[in-house]
Structure formats: structure tokens, C-alpha cells
Subunit: 211 residues, 2 copies
Amino acid sequence: MTDTTIPTNTIRRLPRYYHYMQDLVDQGDKYVTSDQIANYFGIHPTQVRKDLAFTGLIGKPKVGHVLQEALESVRNFLGWDTNSKAFIVGAGNLGSAIIGYGGFDVTGVSIVAAFDTDPDKIGHVINGIEVFPMRKFTDMALKMGVKIGIITCAAEAAEAVANTMVVSGITAIWNFTPVKPYVPENVIMEQTELYSSLAILSRRIKELEGK
Amino acid sequence: MTDTTIPTNTIRRLPRYYHYMQDLVDQGDKYVTSDQIANYFGIHPTQVRKDLAFTGLIGKPKVGHVLQEALESVRNFLGWDTNSKAFIVGAGNLGSAIIGYGGFDVTGVSIVAAFDTDPDKIGHVINGIEVFPMRKFTDMALKMGVKIGIITCAAEAAEAVANTMVVSGITAIWNFTPVKPYVPENVIMEQTELYSSLAILSRRIKELEGK
DNA sequence: TATATATTGATAAAAAAATCACGTAAAATC
DNA sequence: GATTTTACGTGATTTTTTTATCAATATATA
């Protein structure tokens, strides 16, 4: 319906609201106001309203939002209400951490198989997920209709892995390497660079010291 | 000198440029142009110029930048030229992944000790880093003058851990939990939420399907 | 039932970020 | 040596994002 693209920042903030609202439910609350959320995160109430409005949520004056409705609305908006399978390539430390993270359950994404080229890793089971040889990727992905691929291998291999993913019908890639693999336009790529966060930290420290 | 605050987005992009430029060096190049970087990342050349200008770098028309100079300039700007120690709290999957990541070397940050409350984890050595009981945190941090803290424990413990960090002289916190602990203003906090990335992915998939 | 209050959604204003456009400088070519 | 080309830096412009304002409305209270 809405043809406007959703700001990435909005999408980034919503999971936080979600988590906070879940906490409120757990402690027995039934309602939440935008001001409450804004206050908790130290951001502007109007921003929270705008963000929530994107999900189609409408609140009641003087009351705010019914938590259950709000949670559902965000869940639905983010696509967390449909289950989808993911393959992960790279069963090293980072891969294992992602596999074992557990926190993704709520997003409806479940990692169903891991892949690696290292013979020492193949055959192992991490948190219930088996590690298969990389050459089986395409076959299995096509057969199982997997659409999400996670890249946690070494940077040098990322380009090749991304290529394999594309030809295997993967339409969304979550890439943890600092490399930016070339993929067709219709493939969604989300890059999480661990050291860009560290960069912000060390830069801010430097700024502080300069004062 | 410059009293203007640096846009976070600039700081986030610079490590990517850095990595790309490092690759160019590795393949024997001596120079790089903004257009080259922009082209590689699919962004606007002016943006690259502006970003690099923040680091104080000035290029030569028709040539671009000497790679070695550019790398050094970025490194210096990001504070990657000074070594600093970090403590990590939570030696589970994610913590182990961060400890074993290795990619942080270039940033000058080195993780020197891990902490946990789980007796099963205490005493273990992960990638050369020993896991200490949490109660030793403050003592060790003060003694070693550690300024960076990384939180990879369970969300429920994050608030308490952050408090401990603050009283232990930590001035910069990298938080992987979805909780937003309260810290004094002078403490820098950088939040990496793994599932906010996943949120973007599943939302974009949904948008695509809607078309 | 009337009035006060809190919180909403919508719209306007401000701020920030990204892009464009232009003049300039170094190298390459003629 | 003159001309062309390429890439630079920077100020102006556009776009996007965030913040402020305000009328409307549901609840609580008198």
C-alpha cells in the first residue's frame, strides 16, 4: 500500500522498542506510551510515534498503546510473523556464536544448516545444527527453498560464497565480512561490520581525550 | 582543532574504505581515487571525498591519494594508532567469537581478559585469553588501567555489568545486548544489536514480496 | 454532566546528510 | 608549450531525518 520506503533507522530502532515492550509485558504491564519508550531510550517522543506509525499502529490518547497490539504490529511490520529458513557459511567462532545466539527465534528466522570447507569442521553439530561441506550448499538450498544466507567465513572467501548463494536462490544475505561482494540488484544485502562499531568507540575516545 | 563533531556515518564508512585500500595495497597498487572507492561501494564520490577530508587527507587531482598516506590518515583519525586494552564480560558463544575474531588487531584494541559468573567457564582459556570470575573485574580493571569494556553476557545481566564497568573506570562500552543500560554522560556507549540487522533483512524481504 | 489532563496523530519547522555543480589543479596528450 | 582530460575541493542545493507545534480525543475527576 505505502509506496514510500521505510527509513533504515526506523527499522533499526523498532527491534529495540520491541524488546523493551516485551520486558514491560513480562513485568505485567498492559499499556505503553510513546513518551515512556522515548524516555527509556533517551530519544525524542515524536520519533517513537513516527516509527510506530510506520507499522500502522494507532494509539489511544491518554492511554497509549495496548502492548500486545503494539508487539504484534511491530512483529508483523518487520516480517517476524512468518518463518523463514537460513543457511550459514563459516562454522568458525563467529558462525558458532550466531548459531548459538538463540535471540533470533523471535524474528522468525531459523538457521537450519551450516556449511564450511574445513574438513575438521564438517560433520560437527553446533547447537543442534549440522555442518555440511560447502559443495552441498546449492543442492540443499534449492531443495529446501532457503532464501536467507549468512556469511561468517573469512573475508577472502566472501565473494565466492556470495556467488554460490546467488545461484542457489538466496535472495537475502547477511554479511559479516568487511568485503562487499557483488550481487544482482534483486538480492538484499545487509552488512554487519564488527569493527565499524569499534571504530566509533575508539574515535569517540580520541575526541574525548582531545578536550 | 576542528570542534565540529564527526558524523557517525562517516566514522562507520571509514573502516570500509580502510579495508578496501588495504586490499589495493596488497595487490600492489600505490594510488587510489575517491571515484574508485565510491564505485566499489556503490556510493557517491563526493561522499567519499567528504569522508576522507574529515581525516585531514588531501589528494592530488588526476592521481588521487597515495595509499600509504591515506591508510595512515584514516588509522590516525580513528584512533587506531594507539593501543588500548579491553575487558570482555560474558564468555559464551558470542564472547568467544569476539575474542577469537582477530580482525580487531588493526584497530589497536586488544582484549586482554574475559569475565564470567559461570563456574564452568571461569579458568578456561579462549584463544589465549583467560576467563576470570566477575568479582575480580573492578580490581583488575583499575590495576591495569583498562578503559574499554565489551558486554556479551545475557541481556538480564547487562545493567549490572555496565554499572560495574563504570565504577571500574571504564569509559567506553561496546554493548551487544538489546538492553540500554544507564551510564553517566561521560561514558561512551556503542550498541551492536545483532537482530536489528536481521530486522532490516526480513523487512526488506517483505517489501520485495509485496511488489 | 462538565472540565481538566494526558497522549495521540498530523503538520510544520529545523537540522543533518547526501548530492550536485562548478571552478581549479595536476598529469597526459598533442 | 598549449590543450585536454581527470580528479580534486568546496559552496549551494536537494533530500532525508529529526524535532517542535498544535488541534483532536479518550479518560479521569469534580
